[in-house]
Amino acid sequence: GGGGGTTASQEPTGASSEAPKASLKVGLAFDVGGRGDKSFNDAAYAGLEKAKTELGAEIKELSPSADGSNRGDLLRQLADAEYNPIIGVGFAYAEDIKKAATEYPDIQFAVVDSASNAPNVTGLLFAEEQGSYLAGVAAATKAESGHVGFVGGVESDLIRKFEAGFVAGVKSVKADAKIDIKYLTPDGDFTGFKAPDKGKVAAEKMFQDGADIVYHAAGDSGLGVFQAAAAAKKKAIGVDSDQRQTVKETDLQPVIMTSMLKRVDVGVFEFIKAFQGGAKGGSDVIYDLKVDGVGLSTTGGEIDDIKDKLDAAKKDIVDGKITVPAKP
Amino acid sequence: MSADTLATVKPAVELEGITKRFPGVVANHDIRITVQPGTVHAIVGENGAGKSTLMKILYGMQKPDEGTIKVNGAEVSFRTPSDAIGVGIGMVHQHFMLADNFTVLENIVLGAEPRKLGTLDRAAARRRITELAATHGLRVDPDKLVEDLGVGDRQRVEILKVLYRGARILILDEPTAVLVPQEVEELFQNLRELKSEGLTVIFISHKLDEVLGIADAITVIRRGTTVASVNPGEVTARQLAELMVGSELPTPETRESTVTDTVALKVSSLTVEADGFRPVPKGTPVSLYADKLRQEGKRLLLDDVSFDIHKGEILGIAGVEGNGQSELIEAVMGIRPAHGRVELDGRDMTAWSTLRRRESGIGYIPEDRHRQGLLLEASLWENRILGHQTRRPARSGIWVDRRASKADTERIVKDYDVRTPSVETLALALSGGNQQKLIVGREMSGEPAFLIAAHPTRGVDVGAQAAIWDHLRDARAAGLAVLLISADLDELIGLSDTIQVIYRGRLVAALDPSDVTPERLGGYMTGAIAGTEET
């Protein structure tokens, strides 16, 4: 695996053999948008809920205010209410977790998408670039024109990771492929994740110019990308969850060739489970291809025919033959 | 529109025991007035006597607290002006009620629009207005924007508004305050015509001569209540004034000259273009430049205006409103950029800011006190500071000297008889006359070298008028130079040492006030008499 942390031990092993323990109180603070975003936050919640049913945890989840100014306070309120462990969802929690961790040294924290920065903090990192690499391989292989696109919601470093992996994946198949890249808003203006209309305009242009497949990492704006693909009778690649399943519009489902999965639910659940097993923080757990923390969805079976190629690429990455860049 | 048969027997309007209280003031108390149909009925009274309030009640704009109103013998109760309009009452307000950005036509038809297929039928409206204008001798261009009109035209639009709605009872609240004698005469001609058609007119004015000239009956209101009903044939203006205030009618006349040889203010070739200020090319004399502009067909608001005012002299500027007076005083104050040169006590102040001009001793009584003279929502002592921000007693260093300002405001309140509960009262709570006295007091403080007095007594009652005139005269005797602009020709003739007439932005005549009549002056002002007459 890439990076210097330990790698998650193994796949979740189904129902836990341990008896539910009432003493496990897990607190979780969402990123802006909060629970019910059908995406990142909900994935984290799925992991939490699994911990509730499978590990018998008592859970509490809080959403920050619209401007996110109270992230740190949510963590403290959870800590004061004696929740342990506490999980912050999203890289924006990095600093706040660090501070809370020093204030509450007896509590274990985890932060999604950011590295550990204190002895009692576990960083839950995802190798989005690796998953995106596979998406790139799939796109380049499937695109007959040798022309693909990427739509990013907000030009933050996190989303640029997706871009970097995707570009590398495409180039690995077709070095001369044409890749259109467009972001919707600058870093700091998060409306780019909530602008299906802009996503549609950007993707439309790519399809008009001849792109066959467009990959998006644009939150709700991805909906516009799917619409553009449907209108152009072309394909798109979803992100985070298996969007062919989560998107309810039947006319849009068929255009979603595959989705780049980011198993935040797995990360959250595994962390809680490890905590229960007595694990301590201070290091990062990297959810990469090796542990299937990222990957491609296969619903619809559209990439079944190139499975070999994808598996080969995956193997190369897992084996360290290919190092996927995390920055464009 | 046949005349109401009842109107010939029943009084057109009967007001019985009308009482109206405002917070802090009882504006009307037990007012009784009977207006006979087909007459001009004048109502006179001091500022703040309650005339406008009474008329607003009659027009449904305000509800009386007590009392009854009968129109043509039937008791009525108005909720809104449309109820009053419904029974044939129309009102021309003391302050114009016109939307500046609308055309004359739009202003007239508003609320009573002719429609065709759901749209505004402008053609029909235009026809109707032209017809009305022709029959009543009220010249207007229906498609002009009201903001481009002079006051006389606006007054006509207001009257047309009322006639357009077929009103049989007209209320005119101080319609002549802004008109020149010719225009007043024209208006009166119109009123007489209306009267002969059987219309009833209720007429309010502070100009008692006018009242005596037009009215068939007069009601005097003092401090909110009716004190007398008189027959114009049986009283003189003086007696009327005494009824109003219990004091003698003052006169602005002063003949002994205090004019000195020293020039206080020297204005040369002041020129203002209508469409924005562009600097004169270097080295070109302003007169030459003005010629060029005139040849290019540019409209000049001020056209090469030059004059001197000596210490101890009052220079009166006569002119129909809208002929460049506003531009002249604003140019002298430095509020409006202009070509030409202005000197004060020999110092060229053309490039000075308004502030510097004020600091060097220019006082300014603006023509519209609400627009340029007061902060209505601020206290009296804060209003005292206005225009004196950088001078004692208002300032000390970067701070406002509140104590000294209040003390000095007390002085003004006392010296100028400003009727107010305290200097902390908001300016808007004062009646117009008292507001004006405060402004005059403020502008006279700090011993100005030169004073611009635009309509210093407009809308002010006779008592206050006399006091303001006295103050002006005293200051003049002490060497103050005054530029006086007034629509009240008696005031102009009585106070001025010299009169200049302004017409279309040019000074067209210089007259000696001692041998000019208001009528002749009016002739120059309206352009009826041309040419320059030196004295």
């Binding site: 205010s65 306070d73 501070k99 | 340029q372 902060l375 206005l386 509960p421």
Partner: protein, 380 residues
């Protein structure tokens, strides 16, 4: 003066009724949502059970009020002159990033370092506000449009800067962008001692009670002095009440527009500092946005006067603090926003109503004092 006292009492009564009404409206909403209004009410006053939690909650509450108060002041300065500075949002962002960066480039004793950072922030905010001001006085561009556009430009500019020119070091895996960290001497000492005076446990939250609170208080006093007691303040007031009269009195409207806008921008520049100098120590991805817009509400609720703004800021902060507590009580946290909106609207409505009631009362008094035929003048 009994009339004045009456009016003051009425105003307070009106505000109380308005707040009660806002609470009632939200209670209905909460009941509809299946929650319990009483639990919600308890949540607002639930500052935690342990002493430590309480201190932290108090600090959180006051820390939130500080930037809101400064934002309110910034907006109010413009409003006093009828200038609508919607651009506070952009001004404080630009100011924050410039100040954070400049502060990180050198190390000096605190008494030099901190003032320099504050001055840089004020300068940057003022300069950014100068743009719409100059556009207004030279080209007549409406400041509302200009500042709306400049807000977007500010977001982009700061995003560009924090990634490029002003970027700081960060871990390879860290996707947070940030300016270089400020030296310790730039961190504003906290006010935790205050808690000890009251015999409370000092807050343990990072940053504690932000010392910038003191700067805000001084700023409030300063703004009050400038607006209420100086010639400049008089000119601002005059221009706001009656622009033509101010012009005729010798006030230069162009200078005033520029001065008021720049002053507003300079104050706005300080909005981001409590957070940066109090705890974050850099401008980074977590920078709190949106305070400029909240500042408009705070300023208006506080009637553009420093004392009123302080009360409004405290009220907003008090409500905001409860976001977490409400969720513990299973009440949707969005009721906070609803209460805030409802309070703004209802308090000003109540204000208008009480003003009218006061007038009517005076009217009645006037009627009682009515002499025979003389109108009665009563002190207003």
């Amino acid at each position: 003066m009994p009339a004045g006292l009456n009016r003051a009492l009425l105003t307070v009564a009106g505000a109380v009724v308005a707040i009660l009404l806002a609470i009632a409206i939200c209670s209905v909403a909460i009941i509809i949502a299946g929650g319990s209004p009483l639990d919600a009410l308890a949540a607002f006053f639930d500052f935690g059970t342990s002493e430590r939690a309480q201190s932290n909650s108090i600090a959180t509450f006051l820390n939130r009020a500080v930037p809101l108060f400064i934002a309110g002041l910034a907006v109010a300065v413009g409003f006093r002159m009828n200038l609508f500075n919607i651009g506070v949002e952009g001004q404080y962002r630009i100011a924050a990033i410039c100040a954070a960066y400049v502060g990180s480039t050198f190390t000096a004793p605190s008494w030099i370092q901190i003032p320099v950072i504050i001055v840089v922030a004020a300068l940057a905010g003022g300069l950014y506000a100068l743009i719409p001001a100059v556009m207004k006085v030279t080209r007549g561009v409406n400041e509302v449009i200009a500042t709306i556009m400049l807000n977007y430009i500010a977001i982009n500019l700061s995003s560009y800067l924090v990634r490029g020119l002003f970027a700081g070091e960060r871990a390879k895996t860290d996707v947070n962008v940030t300016t270089p960290p400020l030296p310790d001497s730039a961190m504003f000492p906290n006010l935790n001692a205050v808690f000890e005076w009251f015999g409370l446990l000092p807050p343990t939250r990072e940053g504690g009670l932000w010392g910038f609170l003191l700067v805000a208080v001084v700023l409030g006093l300063g703004v009050w002095l400038v607006l209420e007691r100086t010639r400049f303040g008089f000119n601002v007031k005059a221009s706001g009440l009656n622009a033509p009269a101010a012009l005729a009195s010798g006030v230069n409207p162009k200078t005033m527009v520029i001065a008021a806008m720049v002053m507003s921008g300079a104050i706005a520049g300080l909005i981001g500092l409590p957070e940066i100098l109090g705890s974050s120590g850099a401008y980074n991805s977590n920078f709190t946005a949106g305070l400029g817009f909240l500042g408009i509400a705070v300023a208006l609720l506080g009637r553009n006067k420093p004392v009123g703004i302080a009360i409004a800021a405290l009220l907003f902060a008090f409500l905001d603090r409860a976001q977490g507590a409400l969720q513990f009580a299973d009440v949707p946290a969005s009721v906070v926003t609803i209460i805030q909106g409802a309070i703004v609207l209802l308090v000003v409505m109540a204000n208008e109503v009480t003003k009218r009631i006061a007038l009517r009362l005076e009217e009645r008094r006037a009627a009682q004092q009515l002499g025979r035929n003389t109108p009665v003048e009563v002190t207003a």
